[in-house]
């Protein structure tokens, strides 16, 4: 099988579930497996009601004890299921490659934190239900310490890669802000709570920043940038929410102000710390154009009153447009194959052929436009391409109806004329491109040459020398195509710096916007806390 097919199937085979997904999906089976083990009940001797009650009582008790127990095989099977679940289900999609686990290993991990170990034992003793209930606890609740120091800590411990750690810490920072908001709404936000939550949020944000730096150093710049943007956007969203809560719960104003100051500090720190730098580096690192488009779109994400974080859908949008172009492409292919499948394919007019060629070139241009960020122009070209396809099909239908045979002379004339018109259109486009892109002596020479050839072709056509006319048109088309590729290459490099410029502009605007938002917040804080 040829290489293209091999690589295609290779890519297909790489689709897989993430470790988190595998674990989650397997979790549904866990209770079943325990039941399955217990599925077939051993036929224990029924208790016999005899006069000698005490004896049969003993006997029954013995049977019960004997029956109600896991065999060694069952125990290890259940435990292996749990091991597997634990291995496959880290809290965040981390890359833990631990292959064999045991409770002993677990304690080895936490051996450096004696308090953790004793808390773990506590948790085991409680059977885990308490830790589950702690999830929704708020500061002031009895189970709140368990939520922070057990549940969250454990997730943090089992996050091994910088990416996983960053995501865990980011979630923790956001959780603290959520808790503050809920408390404030329930008018339970005391000054101590506010101070605690603020400092915790700051601590976790600092941790995120540290992990982001590690990611940057190890070259995972895109992920670093994504996490950075995500947290930043969430912080701003919480900023707005906190302000809104402050307006509706006047009694909590002072405490909320403390939190707002904290959020502002963290957001500020992150900016000067090179949040922008990350975006710039990410752009260089990745495939230039694609991630540039993503960066541009992320910059313009607004978060007015958003209560949940926003992740840029840029990639999907691009793919959507790309998919449409692919569809147009396959239609062209379909039309071409239907031409080939006709018995008298040779006599299909060059008019339809010309239309198809136009459709193809429009589509190729559409792709380039899309990849360099002009999705509007891309769509226009795509639609133009589709119109060309329809016209081609129309021509074909007409020809079929009129019959394939026709005057041989007319056909040649039609062919030559179509070829000439086609080439003329192409040269006009090429000149337009030349005007845009500018100097290239090579391209200019080719275009001039082509121009001369076309003039000659016209003369030959008028003199009914159709064959020669066609040859000249073809030669001209070839030259034009060559010139075009020179110019498009030149254009692409101009576009690169153009994109760079636009990104800088967008960043500046985003920066200004952020500053305005913060100034607003400042003013509002002044109102609340003079």
């Amino acid at each position: 099988m040829d290489r293209d097919l091999e690589s295609f199937f290779g890519m297909a085979r790489e689709v897989a579930l993430s470790p988190a997904e595998r674990g989650q999906l397997f979790a549904a089976f866990l209770p079943l497996l325990s039941l399955g083990i217990a599925g077939a009940v051993r036929n224990a001797e029924p208790a016999r009601h005899t006069m000698q009650m005490s004896k049969s009582d003993q006997h029954f008790a013995g049977q019960a004890r004997h029956a109600v127990r896991l065999s060694p095989g069952e125990k290890s099977a259940v435990f292996r299921s749990i091991q597997k679940f634990m291995k496959d289900y880290p809290y965040v999609g981390s890359e833990s490659r631990q292959t064999s686990w045991s409770i002993v290993d677990l304690f080895a991990q936490v051996r450096l934190m004696p308090m953790m170990a004793s808390v773990l034992i506590l948790v085991l003793g409680l059977g885990g239900t308490a830790s589950y209930a702690a999830q929704s606890a708020l500061p002031g609740d009895t189970l709140y310490p368990m939520k922070i120091y057990v549940n969250e800590s454990m997730r943090s411990t089992f996050a091994f890669s910088p990416e996983a750690k960053a995501r865990v810490e980011s979630a923790r920072a956001q959780k603290r802000l959520e808790e503050a908001e809920v408390l404030a709404l329930e008018t339970r936000l005391s000054p101590e709570h506010a101070a605690f939550l603020t400092s915790q949020m700051e601590k976790h944000s600092a941790n995120v920043r540290r992990q982001i730096e590690r990611l940057q150093e190890s070259g995972q710049v895109e992920i670093a940038s994504e996490i950075d943007e995500h947290l930043n956007t969430s912080l701003l969203a919480h900023d707005f929410v906190l302000q809104k809560v402050a307006h509706s719960r006047q009694g909590a104003r002072r405490e909320i102000a403390v939190l707002l100051k904290g959020v502002r500090t963290v957001a500020d720190m992150r900016e000067t710390d090179g949040g922008i730098a990350i975006a710039a580096v990410a752009m260089d690192a990745a495939n230039g154009e694609a991630s540039a488009t993503v960066a541009l779109k992320q910059e313009t994400v607004a978060d007015e009153g958003a209560s949940s974080s926003i992740i840029a859908r840029a990639i999907v949008t691009d793919h959507k447009a790309e998919a449409k172009i692919d569809e147009a492409h396959s239609r062209i292919a379909a039309v071409r194959s239907s031409i080939e499948s006709r018995k008298n394919g040779a006599s299909v007019s060059l008019q339809s052929e010309a239309k198809i060629v136009e459709a193809e070139s429009a589509l190729a241009e559409a792709r380039i436009k899309l990849r360099t960020g002009s999705s509007g122009e891309a769509d226009t070209l795509r639609k133009q391409s589709l119109r060309n396809i329809e016209e081609a099909q129309l021509f074909m239908n007409i020809e079929q109806k009129l019959g394939a045979e026709g005057n041989k002379k007319e056909r040649s004339q039609g062919a030559a004329s179509a070829q000439l018109k086609h080439a003329q259109k192409k040269i006009d486009d090429a000149w337009a491109l030349f005007a845009r892109v500018g100097s290239s002596a090579d391209a200019e020479a080719k275009l001039n040459d082509a121009k001369a050839k076309l003039a000659e072709a016209r003369i030959k056509l008028d003199a009914s020398l159709f064959g020669e006319s066609q040859d000249l048109s073809k030669a001209a088309s070839k030259l034009i195509a060559e010139a075009r590729s020179i110019l498009t290459a030149a254009e692409r490099s101009v576009r690169q710096s153009d994109i760079q410029h636009r990104i800088d502009e967008a960043k500046k605007k985003a920066q200004e916007k952020k500053e305005e938002v913060l100034r607003e917040a400042d003013r509002k804080i002044q109102d609340i806390v003079p």
Partner: protein
């Protein structure tokens, strides 16, 4: 350890020494990804593919639990999955990728995947989508799942001949689309 509580409950003993849990867990370990992948390329939806994979294993578990023997668990899994996918496709009347997107309904990407992989995956999906369904199915079974033509024949109930022809035509179509795309 948080899970230890609810799960180490007492339960009566098993009779006999058959333990389908072992086999099941091993099968999941080995084939969960493959079954998921198979379903994914046939229904073009990650979430639905995950559900179908789960259902496949669920049905397999039911079968095992009844004490039935399974010689070739891999073939069994694919057979169950194939039937589930056929039912699914019949119910849903193939939707085009385009309209899926327009409904805001993306096939879904693993959140942690890098962008280049996402682009690749999208290309693979959309290329597959262009191929005729009956050809596509066998291409997936042969070249993504790694089943032999005779296994595919057994699985689908067609003759080996028919399968070979479909494979050949499928590859032709695929080549064309790859060349033009």
């Amino acid at each position: 350890m948080i899970l230890c509580g609810p799960f180490l409950t007492f339960a009566p003993m098993v009779s006999g020494n058959e333990d389908p849990s072992e086999l099941f867990t091993a099968a999941y370990e080995e084939y969960a990804d493959a079954i998921f992948r198979h379903c994914y390329f046939r229904v073009f939806n990650r979430d639905r593919a995950k559900e179908l994979m789960q259902e496949t294993f669920m049905k397999t578990w039911e079968y095992l639990r009844k004490g039935e023997k399974v010689d070739n668990i891999r073939a069994f899994l694919y057979k169950v999955a194939n039937n589930l996918v056929i039912d699914e496709v019949r119910k849903k009347k193939e939707v085009s990728l385009d309209s899926l997107l327009e409904a805001g309904f993306e096939p879904g990407f693993d959140g942690a995947a890098e962008m280049k992989t996402k682009v690749d995956q999208w290309k693979v999906l959309s290329t597959f989508h262009k191929i005729e369904q009956s050809y596509r199915d066998v291409l997936i079974m042969r070249h993504v799942d790694g089943l032999s033509p005779s296994e595919i024949a057994e699985l689908t109930g067609e003759s080996t001949n028919v399968i070979s022809v479909r494979l050949h035509r499928g590859l032709q179509q695929l080549r064309t689309h790859l060349k033009n795309g």
